[in-house]
């Protein structure tokens, strides 16, 4: 199974294109690393691929079929800042179960402590919240994970732990990963292929 973005162009404002004729292909058994300077438009591309931005030109397909805009989106984006993706007045168990109820062993794999479930998002650290948002995105309907600088705020040991668990789960369940980062060393460790953003963005 492949996710294909074909000839994607996008601009927030007229005459100021951010993405131009970008094509990228993500297989369901690989981790594709996407590297680029900050401000170059990586997050914008991630949002286009996972359905957050709509006024783009080009197509996004999974096995040559356009992604259905209504139901559950098979390409799930994980953000750099998890706190923004959680309702501040929801406790963590509710935040998690909005997507699905993962089995206990998966919670353990990602280091989710039982005691965190009854806390508000404001009562957990960024790294702890990120574990929730990663696990939340691993709903059985997810076919591709778009990971936009998801480990930037974590220390190296935690970074390795989380990426190990995520890649392990995705390889077993045939979920493809687009791993976006400006960190060359990290991508060299986790990615099967590395794509340079400036090479695919034909500005």
């Amino acid at each position: 199974m492949y996710l294909n973005a074909n000839n994607i162009s996008f601009s927030y404002r007229k005459n100021k294109p951010i993405l131009k004729n970008i094509s990228i292909s993500i297989p369901d058994n690989k981790v594709i690393g996407l590297m680029g300077d900050s401000g170059s438009g990586k997050s914008t591309l991630c949002k286009v691929i996972s359905g957050y931005l709509n006024n783009y030109t080009g197509t996004i397909t999974i096995d040559n079929e356009l992604i259905d805009k209504t139901g559950y989106c098979p390409a799930q984006l994980i953000f750099q800042h998890p706190e923004k993706t959680m309702n501040p007045k929801w406790k963590m168990h509710k935040v998690l179960s909005e997507s699905w109820n993962p089995p206990q062993e998966l919670k353990d794999t990602f280091g989710l402590k039982e005691g965190w479930m009854n806390r508000w998002p404001s009562e957990l650290s960024g790294g702890e919240l990120q574990r929730f948002s990663i696990l939340r995105a691993l709903n059985p309907n997810t076919k591709f994970i778009i990971a936009d600088e998801i480990s930037t705020m974590l220390d190296t040991v935690t970074q390795v732990q989380i990426w190990d668990s995520l890649i392990d789960y995705c390889k077993k369940n045939k979920i493809g990963i687009l791993a976006v980062s400006h960190d060359k060393e990290l991508l060299e460790v986790i990615a099967d292929n590395i794509v340079l953003f400036n090479d695919i963005n034909k500005l």
């Binding site: 996972s50 359905g51 957050y52 209504t70 139901g71 559950y72 989106c73 799930q76 984006l77 953000f79 923004k84 993706t85 959680m86 309702n87 007045k89 909005e98 997507s99 709903n139």
Partner: protein, 284 residues
């Protein structure tokens, strides 16, 4: 933070919360007893003239004195406050419904949002008293006219708040994510948006009371509000104007003060409920 510091803060928090709860409770109790007392007072007895007792200054027997027809001013004031609370309640409910409808409506799309904003600005810019009198006359005056007039003119601040709040929530990442999870608009409205705006609605309703009450009293005072036979505070005040020059100061002083007290009580409750429902934003 050390353990003791944490404990200290914990105790302080509990104390503050308890204090807020107690203040709110007492204020509510006073309001409810004023309102409920209306159902136990024998209206005809209170409003029947008693010419052996005219124009008595305040005493232990008649706390607020008596008027030119010998009626007990304390009882009349109590009845007046009851009417004020009633008008305030109906008017607040009407205002809130209008505010919620407009707030929700504005989230449909940008064109509708602009129209709603224009309507809010338009209504917000017309002088209240003038608008209230006009609407009241349009609805045929009387109790019904006053309630409709006050209700239909007091929704602008709450509508503005709700519109802004819904907009903020709607553009947040967690709502977009909810979309990604395939949740319906209705589901998002029920589970995400409504719980986040309900506290604003409750506080908005309570804080609308004092405005509604003051406006009802002022147009009744001016003669455009409740009919003269109602024992409303506005009516009492305008009637007693004629007697002030004779030195019967208590006819206006105590009813006016009581009305002010009632308004302050609602303000107090509104602020405290806000603190209780939304401790974080109340501190900001």
């Amino acid at each position: 933070m050390t353990k003791t510091e944490e404990n200290k803060q914990g105790i302080l928090n509990i104390n503050l919360r308890t204090k807020t709860l107690i203040i709110t409770g007492i204020a509510l109790l006073i309001l409810i007893s004023v309102f409920v007392s209306n159902y136990f007072i024998d209206h005809t007895a209170v409003l029947t003239s008693n010419f052996y007792n005219v124009n008595q200054p305040p005493s232990f027997e008649h706390w607020f004195g008596t008027d030119w027809m010998g009626r007990d001013m304390f009882m009349r004031t109590l009845l007046g406050l009851g009417i004020s609370i009633g008008v305030g309640a109906f008017a607040s409910i009407i205002s809130t419904i209008v505010a919620i409808l407009l707030g929700v409506f504005s989230s449909v799309n940008t064109v509708v949002d602009e129209i709603v904003t224009a309507v809010i600005d338009l209504f917000g810019s017309i002088p209240h008293i003038l608008l209230i009198i006009l609407v009241s006359l349009a609805f045929g005056g009387g109790y019904y006219g006053v309630v409709m007039a006050v209700g239909l003119t007091h929704w602008t601040p709450l509508a503005r708040i709700l519109r802004a709040e819904i907009k903020k929530i709607n553009t947040s990442e967690y709502i977009k994510l909810s979309n990604e999870f395939g949740k319906s608009k209705m589901w998002i409205a029920r589970k995400h948006i409504f719980p986040l705006i309900i506290s604003q609605i409750i506080v908005g309703v309570i804080l609308m009371f004092p405005h509604a009450i003051m406006h009802e009293a002022s147009i009744s005072f001016l003669g455009f509000g409740l009919p003269a036979h109602e024992p409303a505070i506005g009516i009492i005040l305008s009637e007693s104007m004629k007697y002030l020059s004779m030195g019967y100061w208590w006819l206006a002083f105590y009813p006016g003060l009581s009305l002010l007290f009632l308004v302050l009580l609602f303000d107090l409750i509104g602020e405290n409920v806000h603190k209780l429902l939304d401790p974080q934003s109340a501190q900001e």
